[in-house]
C-alpha cells in the first residue's frame, strides 16, 4: 500500500467513494490471526473529499505506467499453457497433506490442487513428474534485511518518511540465497536502531530488473508494506535518541499525536486550500498507521517492552505484529488476549544482549499453546534465508506442533502481511508460489530442489548458477556491503 509518493492520500478518494469504504472482499483479508477471532478490515484511505484534478491526473498516468510495467513483467512466460506437477506429496498447509497429489498452475495462479484421482489435467498441459518429492507453498519471511537495506539515518529516532525500497539493490545476492532457501515473499525492513526506522516493503522474488518488479501491489497499483518500529535497547542511545524506556514511549506518543492532529486539520479544512496544512510525508506515513492501513512491525524483546507495544497499539488503535519476542513466553496470555500475532526469531543461543538473554527455543510452542498466531522470520543477516526451515524444526524440537510450525513459515506470515488471500497456502485461485523439496521439510538433509514464483521457476538446484548460491563458493559473494548495526566485522559493515 502507498507507494505513489508524489500523490497525496486525499486524492485517492476522488472516485466519489466516501472515506472509509471497505475494500473489495478479496482484499479485506483477516488480520485477525484467526484463532483469536479479532478481525480487522482494511478501508480505503480517508480523504478530504475534494478533487485535486492536477494531481489526480498525474496519478492516473502513473497508474497507466504501472499497468504497462505489469504487462511487461508477465511476458509469454506467464505460462500460456498450464503446468501440472504429479506424483508429489503435497502439503497445502490449508487442508491435510495429499499423498500422490497433483498441482496445476496456469498464468501465475493455482488452478487445481488435490489427489491425482480427483484432479483432471487438460490435454495441453505440460506435465512434470515429481514423485518422491514434496510440494508446499513458497516460504514467507515476515522480517528480512537483505538487498542492501539503508533505512533511517542517525539524525532522528522517528523517521516515518523513510521508504526502504529506495535503498534496495534488486540484483543483491541475498535474494538469490533466499530463493535457494525456498522463500518467495519477504517483508524487507529497515533496522531496529530507531523507534521508527521507516516504511517496509512486501516483495515477491520475481524475475526483476528494478525493485518495482518485486513489489506486491493492491488493486489500485499501490505497493504494499508496513511500518518498522522498535523498542528496548537497540533504539536507545544518546540524544536525539531516547536514553530510557519511558522516553522511548513518550517520543512515540508525541509523534502519533502530531499525526492525529495533522489528520484532523485536513478533515477540518474540508478542502479549503488555505486551511490545508503543508504536506508532511512523515505525518502521512504515520497517518497510514493510524488508519490501520499500514501494519506496524514492531521489534521487541523484553516482556515489559512487549506490553508497552500492546499499550501503544491500543492507545492509537494501530495494527501490530510483534517481532522477535524473546521474552514473549513470559507474557503469552497477555499477547493472546490482545489478539496480536508474533513473528518469532529462532537463533542458536540466547543472549548477545541483555534483553535477549532469556530467549528460548520454546517460544513458538508456548505462544502457540496460548492461542497466539505465530510465524517465524529469518531476520536475514541474523539467520540465513537458506536455512529458514531450521527455525520451524527447532521450534518443533521444543514442543511446537508440526502443523503449527509449517504454518508459521507460510500462511501465518501471509496473515501478518495481510496477504493471506493471495499467498501462504496451495489453494485454487492463489498465486502459484510453491517449492519442491526432496524430503521432509523439517529434516536437515532435505534440499529445496526448485522454487517457483507466480508460475515461473526462479530457483533450480540442478542449475550450477543457482547451486552456487545454494551452497556458496567462489563468486557467491555479496554485491554490496549491507548496513547493519551491532556487528564488529570490518568487512561486514
Amino acid at each position: 500500500m502507498i507507494e505513489l509518493p508524489a500523490i497525496p492520500n486525499r486524492c485517492l478518494s476522488t472516485g466519489g467513494e466516501p472515506p472509509g469504504t471497505p475494500l473489495p472482499a478479496r482484499y479485506n483479508s483477516s488480520f485477525a490471526f484467526g484463532r483469536n477471532g479479532v478481525r480487522g478490515s482494511r478501508t480505503r484511505p480517508r480523504g478530504d473529499g475534494k478533487n485535486h484534478p492536477r494531481r489526480c491526473k498525474l496519478r492516473s498516468s502513473v497508474r497507466l505506467a504501472i499497468l504497462l510495467v505489469g504487462v511487461g513483467s508477465f511476458p509469454a512466460s506467464a505460462q500460456d499453457t498450464p503446468i501440472a506437477f504429479t506424483g508429489a506429496m503435497i502439503i497445502p498447509i490449508v487442508g491435510s497433506p495429499i499423498e500422490d497429489g497433483t498441482l496445476v498452475v496456469h498464468r501465475g495462479k493455482i488452478i487445481a490442487v488435490g489427489p491425482a484421482t480427483s484432479v483432471s489435467i487438460s490435454a495441453d498441459a505440460q506435465r512434470i513428474r515429481a514423485a518422491g518429492e514434496v510440494i508446499m507453498p513458497g516460504l514467507i519471511c515476515t522480517h528480512s534485511h537483505i538487498g542492501g537495506i539503508g533505512g533511517a539515518d542517525s539524525s532522528a529516532p522517528i523517521q516515518p518518511d523513510i521508504r526502504i525500497y529506495d535503498s534496495l539493490n534488486v540484483r543483491d545476492s541475498g535474494f538469490k540465497r533466499a530463493l535457494a532457501g525456498g522463500l518467495t515473499t519477504l517483508n524487507i525492513m529497515p533496522g531496529s536502531g530507531h523507534l521508527l526506522s521507516g516504511q517496509t516493503v512486501y516483495v515477491k522474488l520475481r524475475q526483476a530488473e528494478t525493485i518495482e518488479d518485486f513489489f506486491i501491489r493492491d488493486a489500485d497499483g499501490n505497493s504494499l508494506g508496513g511500518m518498522k518500529m522498535a523498542n528496548g535497547t537497540n533504539s536507545m542511545s544518546e540524544k536525539p535518541f531516547p536514553e530510557t524506556r519511558s522516553k522511548s514511549a513518550a517520543l512515540v506518543r508525541e509523534q502519533y499525536i502530531k499525526a492525529q492532529e495533522y489528520r484532523d486539520k485536513i478533515v477540518r479544512a474540508a478542502g479549503d486550500p488555505t486551511k490545508i496544512p503543508a504536506r508532511d510525508l512523515a505525518m502521512e506515513g504515520l497517518g497510514e498507521v493510524l488508519e490501520r492501513k499500514r501494519i506496524v512491525h514492531h521489534h521487541t524483546h523484553r516482556h515489559d517492552d512487549i506490553i508497552t507495544v500492546l499499550r501503544l497499539a491500543k492507545e492509537f488503535n494501530f495494527r501490530v505484529v510483534l517481532h522477535h519476542v524473546s521474552e514473549g513466553w513470559k507474557v503469552a496470555d497477555e499477547i493472546a488476549k490482545a489478539g496480536v500475532p508474533c513473528s518469532v526469531i529462532v537463533v542458536d543461543s540466547p543472549g548477545g544482549k541483555l534483553e535477549a538473554s532469556e530467549m528460548t527455543f520454546q517460544t513458538g510452542a508456548i505462544l502457540e499453546k496460548a492461542g497466539v498466531l505465530v510465524a517465524f522470520h529469518t531476520d536475514d543477516w541474523i539467520t540465513d534465508s537458506r536455512v529458514f526451515f531450521r527455525s520451524a524444526a527447532l521450534a518443533v524440537r521444543a514442543g511446537m506442533t508440526r502443523d503449527g510450525a509449517l504454518e508459521a513459515l507460510t500462511i501465518a506470515g501471509a496473515k501478518m502481511l495481510d496477504l493471506d488471500a493471495r499467498i501462504g497456502s496451495l489453494e485454487v485461485g492463489k498465486d502459484a508460489d510453491f517449492i519442491i523439496l526432496n524430503g521432509d521439510p523439517l529434516s536437515v538433509y532435505t534440499k529445496v530442489v526448485e522454487t517457483w514464483v507466480e508460475g515461473r521457476k526462479r530457483f533450480d538446484r540442478s542449475d550450477p548458477k543457482d547451486l552456487l548460491y545454494a551452497v556458496g563458493g567462489y563468486g557467491a559473494g555479496r554485491d554490496q556491503s549491507p548496513y547493519f548495526c551491532c556487528f564488529d566485522h570490518p568487512e561486514g559493515q
Binding site: D384, S443, V444, V471, G472, P490
Partner: protein, 408 residues
C-alpha cells in the same frame, strides 16, 4: 541404625578413594553406539567406572555389575568436541563486564593466558553442554594479530581448575582484516604489514631464545613472557592457530609456518577449497568456520561444502562454533556439523569433525573423542539422529557424571 551408618561410611570411603566422579557408576545402553573407533555398535553398552570408560561392546557381552545406574538412549556418541569457540570468554550478555575474549590494547600479546579469564559458570557453557558438547577449545578470539592463548576445558566444573584439560592449547593469531587498524598511523593497517609484524616478532623470539641460552648471566635479556610463549611455538611445543579466510591470507599463513617451522592449525579457512593441494602438501589441519557463518566480508565466498572438500582431499578437518560478536552469542557446533553432514560429508565423517578428528587436531585424542576403554567417560545421548533438528539430547555424561538429563 548401625547398618545405615556403615552404608554411609562405605559411600564416604568410596568417594574419598575415587573422587567425585565415583558418585555415578553408570552403564549406558544405546540402540546405536557411535564409538568413532570402529563401526557403530547396534545394541551396544558402555560401562563407566570411576569417571573412565571401562568397557564398550555389544549389550549381550558387557555384563553390568549390580548397583550401576542404567541409562538408555537411541543413539550414543562420544561427548562432542567444539574445536574452536569463545564460550566462557565471550559471555551471554555481551556487555564489557562479560567480554574477555579480545584485548585491544596491542596487536601482539601472546602472554595473555586463557586460564586467567575463563568463566566456568558462564551460562553459554551450560547451553552448549545441554546439546552434548563436553569439551571445548576456547580462549582468545580472532581480532588481533596475536590475541593470546587458548585452553581446552570440559563443559563441567565450577572453576577453570576443575574444568581444564589442557592449560595452554595454542596461541591464537589472526591474518585477516579483523586484525587491521583503520586509524591513520596505527599498525597493522594492511596485509603486508600484518605479515611484516609477525615475522619481526618471531625473529625477536628466536633472538631472545638464543640470548637467554648463550649470553653470560649478567648479559641475559630480561624475561619476556610474550616471547617465552612464542619460543614454545618456535620449538613446536605449542601450535599457532591462525584465523585466515581469504585465499591470499591462507597462502600467507602457510608461508609463515614454513619460514619459521611452526606447527600450524589453520582456522576459519573460508576459501580453503581453492588451495586444497597446498594445504594438503603442507600437512596442515583445518578447523573450518561454522557452516552457518554469515557470508559477508572476507567470508563472502564461504561454502557449506568446505569441510567435505577438505576431507575428500585427505586434510584433517574439524568444525567449530567460532566467535560471534552479537547474535547468536554462541553457535552450537552440533548444528554446524549437521549442515556439513547435509552438504557432502557422510554421517560418520561429520560426526568425526566434532569428536575424534577434533580431538586429534587438538592433541587430546588419548583422553577424549571416542568411546573406548580407558578414555574419559564423556558421552552424549540422543533420542534419534543427533544431526536432525527435531532430535533431543537426552543426557550428557562428563567424567562419568551425568551432568544433564533435561532433553534439549
Amino acid at each position: 541404625m548401625r547398618r545405615f551408618s556403615s552404608v554411609i561410611g562405605l559411600t564416604l570411603l568410596a568417594s574419598l578413594a575415587d573422587g567425585p566422579s565415583a558418585v555415578a557408576q553408570v552403564a549406558v545402553l544405546g540402540k546405536t553406539v557411535h564409538t568413532m573407533a570402529g563401526p557403530p555398535i547396534e545394541n551396544g553398552a558402555v560401562l563407566i567406572r570411576n569417571g573412565k570408560i571401562a568397557m564398550v561392546g555389544k549389550a549381550d557381552v558387557v555384563s553390568i555389575p549390580d548397583g550401576f545406574r542404567i541409562l538408555r538412549a537411541e543413539v550414543v556418541t562420544p561427548g562432542l568436541i567444539d574445536a574452536h569457540s569463545t564460550v566462557g570468554f565471550s559471555g551471554i550478555f555481551n556487555h564489557p563486564h562479560d567480554q574477555d575474549q579480545l584485548e585491544r590494547s596491542a596487536p601482539i600479546q601472546p602472554e595473555l593466558r586463557a586460564i586467567d579469564a575463563y568463566n566456568a559458570r558462564e551460562k553459554l557453557v551450560e547451553w552448549v553442554r545441554n546439546f552434548g558438547i563436553t569439551t571445548v577449545h576456547t580462549g582468545h578470539a580472532p581480532g588481533e594479530l596475536i590475541s593470546g592463548q587458548t585452553t581446552i576445558v570440559k563443559t563441567w566444573g565450577d572453576t577453570i581448575e576443575a574444568a581444564v584439560v589442557v592449560e595452554t592449547a595454542a596461541v591464537a593469531a589472526t591474518l585477516s582484516p579483523l586484525a587491521q587498524k583503520s586509524d591513520k598511523g596505527k599498525s597493522p593497517g594492511t596485509r603486508g604489514k600484518m605479515m611484516a609484524m609477525l615475522r619481526a616478532e618471531f625473529v625477536k623470539a628466536q633472538d631472545y631464545v638464543k640470548k637467554r641460552e648463550t649470553a653470560e648471566a649478567d648479559k641475559k635479556p630480561d624475561r619476556n613472557l610474550g616471547l617465552e610463549v612464542l619460543a614454545r611455538v618456535l620449538n613446536r611445543e605449542l601450535p599457532l592457530m591462525v584465523t585466515a579466510n581469504r585465499a591470499q591470507d591462507i597462502t600467507s599463513t602457510l608461508r609463515l609456518a614454513k619460514e619459521f617451522n611452526i606447527k600450524l592449525i589453520l582456522d576459519g579457512a573460508a576459501e580453503s577449497y581453492l588451495l586444497l593441494d597446498e594445504i594438503k602438501a603442507a600437512g596442515i589441519p583445518v578447523i573450518v568456520h561454522p557452516s552457518m557463518q554469515r557470508a559477508w566480508g572476507e567470508l563472502e565466498n564461504l561454502s557449506f561444502e568446505t569441510a567435505s572438500k577438505l576431507r575428500q582431499a585427505g586434510i584433517p578437518v574439524a568444525l567449530q562454533s567460532g566467535y560471534e560478536s552479537y547474535v547468536p552469542k554462541t553457535r552450537v557446533v552440533l548444528f554446524e556439523a549437521a549442515l556439513a553432514a547435509a552438504n557432502g560429508l557422510t554421517f560418520d565423517q561429520a560426526l568425526a569433525t566434532i569428536t575424534i578428528d577434533a580431538a586429534r587436531i587438538l592433541g587430546i585424542d588419548a583422553r577424549v573423542g571416542s568411546v573406548e576403554a580407558g578414555k574419559d567417560a564423556d558421552l552424549a545421548l540422543y533420542d534419534g539422529d543427533p544431526f536432525e533438528y527435531t532430535t533431543h539430547c537426552t543426557g550428557v555424561i562428563i567424567n562419568g557424571q551425568l551432568v544433564s538429563e533435561t532433553p534439549q
